[in-house]
Symmetry: C2
Subunit: 346 residues, 2 copies
């Protein structure tokens, strides 16, 4: 590992565990950091209090560096009209699962990074923060960088990589189309602009000076080494960690990953409002993967969350977001420390 | 290079030049074969007579092995009703380009491999044939293999790879989503099943015994080596050859590849009826990339061909299929021999 990337990550190994909101907390991050990788805590769906207590848990368990991940989308107003139309589409499902849509809240669980969060985490001077959907506004970004925190964000196109470098990112996560979960795209919402890891990484690496972290489809040490040859200085791996002991991945999710169904993932906006890659399930198949009626991010989760929980209570993953990348060949039910070390034997 | 892949390719270098119908003939294939790679002749749009004379040209120029590429789609009947509807959609373009759709033919230029072609090429006992869209029927395949010809075909999913191996392919081209031109998909027409090279190659390599040839997004020697690490025994490279001296790539096509427009490719069915990756142009943007009204492959070319030629006569690429992969960083206006040798320095 060269000095530049070591200085950026602060970790021994050039392996970042991808932050995966909803399926992991501090336990997975700690295991990865302790093994020499950079463990990540997904903060986008946590309250300020939860963020603080999770950071405290990490710091109590390890002295190694860790990564906090935040969304930095623009938060639109709740649009009653949009939800009324979407609820018409979903009416048969609400009926069959005995859910009263009139009782749903008007707010969503994914909030962008803001000064309140910054106030709460400032005392920890977190070593590393990764953002998704661009970067926070310049003042907020300057505040974070003023702590000595290294800041990276995801680029899904060459344009986004150049934008991130010009706007102060210390490194760029080149998120190939293979990656599970939310696309980090922020300069375009046209999903046909999204390209595969093998194409994205060399194009970005040729054009930026900051270190490039490859993400998407990397599941074993061969994949890590291949990414390095394409120009990456480090990798970010998510899907391969989904079956690890320290992940909170549900039984529904684990079982889908282990089945043939994992061969067919798709980008869908029906669970959150933004395109994210998951294993195709009933809701995706019946509602279309990318449905123009789905409410704006993050508000689509208002409808998706109760549908999911009610269906899961009946033992079905019909409405569960089964986030997953296109390559599950590296998924193993082992400890995250063991997986991290295996990934780094390249 | 290991013995297995050397025996399969017959070439010195594990580099197959991807067959690219419409932009190259024997000249490119000869240059690549002479440099030690496996040059390919795309035969899918040639008449039997043209195929024979191109093979004769190759054999006159080199004693090295070469590859013939054929489509093996099922040929549907011409559907007058389908075309009538599509011509309604295209009416404004026909008008503005002064084309009379009533004068268009009822046949298309892409024919599947058949016994007539086999009769014509049998005397040459071609060393290598690659198919696209599956394999020919068992009798025809047995006939070809009986010549000692090595046969490979493209897989775009793990399922297709297993099918090809079970049905007699001597090797499998793992065609990642990054690849330019036609998707080789043949067991599904759902484009969300298509996955990136970095995900596809390891999954196929883990599950088949025949050699895997990686395709899609590979444009330089780092990409070649990366593909090997993912489990490929050889690579197939297309896009990087598009600017080569020996390619017939049009000025429209070359200039699009060299522009920023090449950052945005998409799968489109409007030019042929099957999804193929090209640089987004006016027709794709205005007609939708994947248009359900586009006639069945290969008949969509009936309308696309005159629109293209008339627009090109006016100096515009509005209707030109600008086939191109997602990674143009390896495109160089050099000789194909030089490019082949550079790719192999991994």
């Amino acid at each position: 590992m060269n000095n530049k990337i070591m200085a950026l990550l602060g970790a021994e190994l050039p392996i970042i565990q991808a932050p995966m909101a909803g399926v992991q907390g501090s336990e997975l991050a700690i295991a990865v950091s302790e093994a020499g990788g950079l463990g990540s805590l997904p903060c986008g769906m946590l309250s300020v209090g939860q963020i603080v207590s999770e950071i405290e848990a990490i710091r109590a368990a390890t002295t190694r560096p860790y990564n906090l991940n935040f969304f930095c989308h623009h938060m639109p107003e709740f649009d009653q009209h949009q939800h009324a139309k979407w609820r018409e589409v979903l009416a048969p499902y609400f009926d069959s699962l005995d859910i009263d849509p009139a009782a749903l809240p008007n707010n969503a669980s994914r909030l962008p990074f803001n000064h309140d969060i910054a106030d709460a985490i400032e005392p920890f001077r977190p070593p590393f923060i990764s953002f998704h959907f661009g970067l926070p506004d310049p003042l907020l970004l300057a505040r974070v960088k003023g702590w000595g925190t290294k800041v990276v964000s995801s680029a899904t196109t060459l344009k986004e990589a150049l934008w991130l470098e010009a706007n102060g990112a210390d490194g760029i996560i080149a998120q190939g189309l293979e990656a599970g979960g939310h696309r980090g795209m922020f300069l375009s919402d046209d999903i046909t602009t999204q390209i595969g890891t093998a194409s994205l990484v060399p194009q970005i690496a040729h054009h930026v000076d900051v270190p490039v972290i490859a993400a998407g489809g990397i599941g074993d040490s061969g994949g890590v080494k291949a990414a390095m040859l394409l120009g990456a200085a480090a990798v970010q791996v998510g899907t391969a960690y989904l079956l690890c002991d320290e992940a909170n991945t549900s039984v529904f999710h684990r079982s889908a990953i282990l089945s043939d169904r994992a061969e067919h993932t798709a980008l869908t906006n029906i669970f959150s409002g933004r395109p994210a890659r998951g294993i195709v399930n009933r809701a995706m198949a019946e509602l279309d993967y990318m449905n123009p009626l789905a409410p704006t991010f993050p508000y689509a989760s208002i409808e998706a969350a109760p549908l999911r929980s009610h269906a899961e209570q009946q033992g079905r993953d019909d409405f569960s977001p089964l986030w997953c990348g296109q390559n599950t060949s590296g998924c193993k039910a082992i400890s995250a420390g063991e997986l991290t070390k295996a990934l780094a034997k390249y």
